[in-house]
């Protein structure tokens, strides 16, 4: 391992849906992906069909493809209120052999239920950070909820998101709550920022959460790259999530630009802070899918990195060591 590997996580474990797994066994990790993704409420829509057998078959095929191409672990980073189905993920992991890490957390504000925004109190004050912290922490210490039925295995991370136009007061409560839950439970935090990556990162760091316990997703957005946010985030010691690999849209840089950005960050000494993922959606309900294979980084993007001059060591650090260090429960 190179000098850039800061932490020794040899003896650590990672919370998967089938229980704690030695961190060394994760293999190649896709750290920002979605398995079943359901816009809250879509499950009640008259024209949305949730066929669990069909969903299982689709997801199992995609996970097997990931494994065939060398993948070891998928992180479902969609939080606890966007279609997360823990029992389905347990069956998928058992069937495919892919480790699945599922997440607590929710956000942005717009995606929350009224329970958190307009509670039955007078006045209806939105939830403060402390209550979110407790809700999220219990997903680790007591297990992830199957709503109104039971708790299952421990969440492997807390994921939250800020409103794209800029962090709202309730988004800030979510971020601070996520940070506090991470502090007390030892799992990491995944944040997706609003209009200012570094500012939003500062909110969780303000809670005294070490930067090495945070991944900032979406840093391959054009606005973030233009603002120099990837380097800023890495400099602060947080993980740089370049997690739209394969995206062809107006919001993100291209794969060629992304590969060059990775090379720059490695050159600047931040190879131990880079994470790659695709934000692929295995099955989407109530919104458009991002139908990339989970194996896209391995099959298509790694050759671009090699062309940038990265060696096997660098690639291994980014795909295996970095996510292992992030996900290891401290």
């Amino acid at each position: 391992m190179g000098a850039q590997t800061a932490e020794n996580t040899t003896g650590n474990t990672v919370n998967t849906v089938l229980g704690p797994v030695p961190a060394q066994q994760l293999g190649v990790v896709a750290v920002h992906e979605a398995l079943l993704s359901v816009v809250p409420g879509a499950e009640y829509a008259f024209d949305v069909t949730i066929d669990r057998a069909e969903i299982f078959e689709t997801l199992a095929e995609k996970l097997k493809d990931f494994r065939r191409h060398g993948g070891g672990t998928i992180v479902d980073s969609t939080g606890m209120f966007h279609g997360r189905d823990v029992r389905l993920y347990e069956a998928l992991s058992r069937t495919t052999g892919v480790h699945i890490v599922a997440s607590a957390g929710q956000g942005p504000e717009e995606m929350l239920g009224g329970y958190f925004l307009t509670p039955q109190t007078n006045p209806p004050t939105p939830w403060p950070a402390e209550k979110f912290a407790e809700l999220f922490a219990k997903e680790v210490t007591e297990g992830m909820v199957v709503p109104r039925v039971e708790r299952r295995g421990a969440a492997g991370l807390v994921a939250t998101t800020a409103t794209l136009a800029g962090m709202t007061a309730t988004d800030e409560s979510l971020f601070r709550g996520a940070a506090r839950a991470a502090m007390t439970t030892g799992v990491p935090v995944s944040i997706r920022y609003g209009d200012d990556a570094v500012r939003d990162l500062e909110v969780v760091l303000d809670e005294k959460l070490p930067a090495a316990r945070v991944v900032v997703g979406g840093l391959d957005r054009k606005d973030a790259v233009a603002a120099g946010a990837p380097l800023e985030v890495a400099t602060r010691g947080a993980y740089v999530g370049l997690d739209h690999v394969g995206a062809e849209d107006d919001a993100h840089i291209t794969d060629a630009e992304r590969a060059a950005l990775v090379a720059e960050l490695v050159e600047a000494g931040h190879g131990n802070r880079i994470l790659l993922s695709s934000n692929a959606i295995g099955v989407a309900k109530g919104h458009p899918a991002n139908d990339l294979p989970y194996s896209y980084v391995l099959t298509t993007f790694v050759p671009l990195l090699k062309a940038q001059g990265l060696g096997d060591e660098d690639v291994r650090r980014i795909l295996v060591d970095n996510p292992r260090d992030l996900l290891s429960v401290r």
Binding site: G41, F46, G113, G114, Q120
Partner: protein, 316 residues
């Protein structure tokens, strides 16, 4: 043929009997299902619910209208089992208690989509339960004024009511001018709308109950029993006598527009509920109070049988 949709299928209006027109088997804000502090086992839920419905039936209650919206823990399969085993007819709602209880998928939806969804739940069924909605729930979000989303839901509800003949039940009757303007614009007769919660402790002063009746709307005094005299009253409680006097004044002028209910939870889902308050307040407290105030049996029948029958009967 006159009919009303219940969770076990359409029934003739003549079979409704005494109606509790605004009640809840169990209500919880969307998202409360994530907070395990409120979870109850199925054993506990049945144990809390069945005796109340059985008592309602034994008192002579016929029909329980569940006013729980789409994302509030509405559970039609559960209602079907309760209805089949207790003999109480249960009418389920489509629609939303307010814009602030509609989850993002519906909050983003167009008026056309919302109307299509409501119509589907009324004419085809709710999810794959086979149970059809017999009423459309709409409401005003917290804050006292209708939000843009509230207005979209009211407009969609008006269209679904016109298409299907099923009536509309509102949560809160504040900002009624805005609501009535929408119903008028859509061409929905106001006697197809029950403007609910005109009597609650927070909003009664701000609610134009007689004005709504004069426009042709039906008026719901339907939070009976949420009283400041309770050991631990909720914030919307009101002194018992003040509410009763308010109701008596109203029926002196607009008996044909008056409906009454208790808005109680049999087994609350995402909040503690209010201990001691049940649908049976109607029989144990309200009807005795009305009799003590000198109302005769014909008036009581008008309030609890005839008016709800007119209101609930599918118009087409």
């Amino acid at each position: 043929m006159s009919r009303v949709n219940t969770v076990l299928g359409p029934i003739p209006t003549e079979e409704l009997g005494l109606v509790a027109v605004h009640e809840h088997i169990g209500y919880g804000m969307p998202g409360s299902e994530l907070d395990a502090k409120w979870w109850k086992s199925p054993e506990q839920r049945y144990e809390e619910t069945v005796p109340k419905l059985r008592q309602f039936h034994d008192y002579g209650g016929g029909t329980f209208v569940d006013a729980t919206g789409i994302c509030n823990g509405r559970d039609v399969d559960y209602y079907k089992s309760l209805s089949a085993k207790t003999g109480v007819h249960i009418v389920a709602s489509t629609g939303f208690v307010g814009g602030d209880t509609a989850l993002p998928f519906f909050a983003r939806a167009s008026v056309e989509y919302l109307a299509e969804h409501f119509i589907h739940e009324i004419t085809v069924g709710i999810g794959n339960t086979g149970g059809r909605a017999g009423i459309i729930k709409v409401g005003v979000s917290r804050g006292g004024r209708m939000t843009d989303l509230d207005k979209r839901i009211y407009r969609a509800a008006a269209r679904a009511a016109l298409t299907t003949g099923v009536p509309i039940l509102t949560h809160l009757a504040i900002d009624a001018e805005t609501a009535i303007a929408i119903f008028n614009a859509e061409g929905l007769p106001l006697d197809r709308v029950l403007f609910g919660h005109v009597d609650d402790g927070v909003n009664a002063d701000k609610t134009r109950d007689t004005w709504i009746a004069e426009q042709g709307g039906r008026v719901g005094f339907d939070t009976f029993g949420y009283e400041t005299e309770l050991p631990d009253p909720p914030f919307w409680a009101r002194p018992r006598k003040e509410r009763l006097d308010h109701f008596l004044r109203f029926i002196g002028q607009h008996l044909d527009k008056a409906l009454a209910s208790a808005d109680a939870n049999c087994s609350a889902l995402g909040w503690p509920g209010v201990k001691g308050h049940t649908v049976n307040y109607i029989f144990e407290d309200l009807i005795p109070d009305l009799r003590a105030a000198g109302l005769d049996e014909a008036v009581i029948k008008t309030i609890f049988v005839d008016n709800p029958a007119d209101f609930l009967t599918i118009q087409n």
